[in-house]
């Protein structure tokens, strides 16, 4: 299943552990290109960090859809994300693509990260003075939103 390909953690991601694990797991699978994107929380707008809620059932189906799409091009996708609080300068998100061909991997990492931003069921909050403030202005309605209005 996807357990080693989609990993969720409480708090900041142990980046070296995750990326080393994936590299060791997949370097012998004849992927010529392994591209890793590591998202790091920036110190800006006086925040102490970010905090996240995740709705796992739909995240799993979103990720499974991407895995299928990647597999059609003989590639795989990998992802790790944090739940709860992640302080500035720590990582909350890693995405990766492994592919026999570099061009597939380079294009897919872009689409995978952008679609993640637009459609993965994860909610972000700024941590300001110890409180969680929903990052409403940076959030995007999921495709098809608004049917009940």
């Amino acid at each position: 299943m996807n357990s080693e390909k989609l990993r969720l953690y409480d708090g900041a991601l142990p980046v070296e552990e995750i990326t080393n694990y994936w590299y060791n797991e997949f370097k012998t699978s004849n992927y010529g290109a392994i591209i890793t994107f590591v998202g790091v929380v920036r110190d800006e707008n006086s925040i102490d960090g970010l905090s996240f809620d995740i709705y796992e059932p739909i995240l799993n189906s979103w990720f499974d859809g991407w895995q299928k799409k990647a597999n059609e091009k003989n590639a795989i996708v990998l992802m790790a994300h944090s739940r709860g609080d992640v302080l500035n300068h720590e990582s909350s998100y890693i995405a990766a693509v492994c592919s026999p061909k570099r061009r597939v991997a380079l294009e897919m990492i872009d689409e995978f990260v952008e679609d993640f931003k637009a459609n993965a069921p994860i909610w972000k909050y700024d941590i300001i003075d110890g409180k969680r403030v929903y990052a409403e202005d940076r959030s995007t309605p999921i495709s098809g939103a608004g049917i009940l209005s």
């Binding site: 990260v113 931003k117 909610w123 009940l148």
Partner: protein
């Protein structure tokens, strides 16, 4: 009964409603001032599958989730 859950920042307790489709749910929620402002930006899932139309029948024991705007990463 159908369970309605409000995810992420909506911060509202789940509801249990006697309804048979999403049109009825829409009418109920439009009358709830704690939720009306979210409706135009919320995606809807029935039993954890996103739906794109209100023409969805609901059965006893179904779960409807409202997903407000997202921002992972």
């Amino acid at each position: 009964m159908v369970k309605i859950e409000f995810l992420g920042p909506i911060n509202k307790e789940s509801l249990s409603l006697d309804i048979s489709n999403l049109n009825e749910l829409s009418e109920v929620l439009k009358g709830d001032e704690t939720i009306t402002k979210w409706l135009e930006n919320c995606a809807v899932a029935v039993n954890d599958t996103l739906v794109s139309s209100k023409d969805v029948k609901l059965n006893d024991g179904d779960k409807v989730s409202l997903l407000p705007p997202v921002c992972g990463g």
